[in-house]
Subunit: 159 residues, 2 copies
DNA sequence: AACTTAAATAGGAATTGTTCTTGATAAGGG
DNA sequence: CCCTTATCAAGAACAATTCCTATTTAAGTT
């Protein structure tokens, strides 16, 4: 597993991959394009299904390999949540994730300017933080609206 | 999966379990005691190994069942980190976790008074948050010290 | 105390998501 | 074009967890 470097300052994903002594193959490009296209935080299997449209006989293991390579090169981030399958995110900014419990949607929550997680949790100053991972769970606006409509309908009927 | 209720205000774990229409069996008590004893965030297998001292022929599936029951009753929390095995925590206060990359130690980081995660990440006000999960990774003080001693020794030798 | 009924357990099989292995294929530099 | 090495497809293996089922246990009820 190679160290992830500052990919966002390179000019192209190709350069970034080359910078790691690796090649930008058709499979890697296709996987990367799927992630850049759909910014839904797809799982490996979802990427696999989508990418088959471009590279019809790519294997699932190759999709996993490509995702690992892209992650190691710092072009995408892996997102884990509870015991669900890993998801992949091409947003390289520092951000947290929101997971809707009712529809499963995953979305990005940007870090506020000049704020650090350490402002909220007591981190002893003799420990060194290299990463943080933050997940919120709840109900997205779409699902909340849907639920409201349902309860309105129920009220009408009961009258 | 039953809804977790406010276990910390009950008087005993037995009451809490009874409150959910369940029984405090020998296996459940033993699992709970292991968690309360070692506050290291053990995995299911680690709990299994420890609890066998008390209940010699408990099965791993039962340990999983007990852990799930205790979690559902709100007596313990499940802690996931990347793709590692789930760990279990009897600290019911709102807290984050720190994972040492070099020794694997897991420790609790309390929420600061009057702070909320929403202060650090932009959460659209039309989304409802029910839970948050926060993990920090880095190097613990013990490991940092160990590393320093090593590099000192190296310097001495190279002179 | 015996009877009844439902909950809980042990043990093993099954499932899920991911990683590993291996032989074949494809790139890129000389 | 050839050589070397990276990459790939396919399927086996793996780790963690969940599911299944026959048996045991506990709580209530006579
Ligand atoms: Mn994201
Ligand atoms: Mn904890
Ligand atoms: Zn939703
Ligand atoms: Zn450490």
């Amino acid at each position: 597993m190679a160290m992830a470097t500052l990919a966002q300052h390179q000019h192209s994903p190709d350069d970034t991959i080359h910078g790691h002594g690796l090649r930008m193959t058709g499979q890697r490009r296709a996987v990367y394009d799927v992630l850049m296209g759909e910014r839904n935080h797809p799982t490996a299997v979802e990427v696999f299904t989508k990418v088959r449209g471009q590279v019809p006989n790519i294997s699932l293991a190759t999709v996993y390999n490509c995702l690992e390579t892209l992650t190691d090169c710092g072009l995408v981030k892996i997102v884990t949540h509870e015991r669900g399958p890993s998801r992949y995110c091409p947003n390289l900014e520092d951000h947290a994730h929101f997971f809707c419990d009712s529809c499963g949607e995953v979305s990005d929550l940007p870090l506020r300017a000049r704020k650090r997680p350490q402002d909220v949790w007591e981190v002893p100053e003799n420990i060194t933080i290299s990463h943080h991972q933050v997940a919120f769970r709840g109900e997205c606006p779409k699902c909340a609206k849907k639920k409201n409509l349902k309860s309105e309908a129920r009220n009408l009927k009961s009258k």
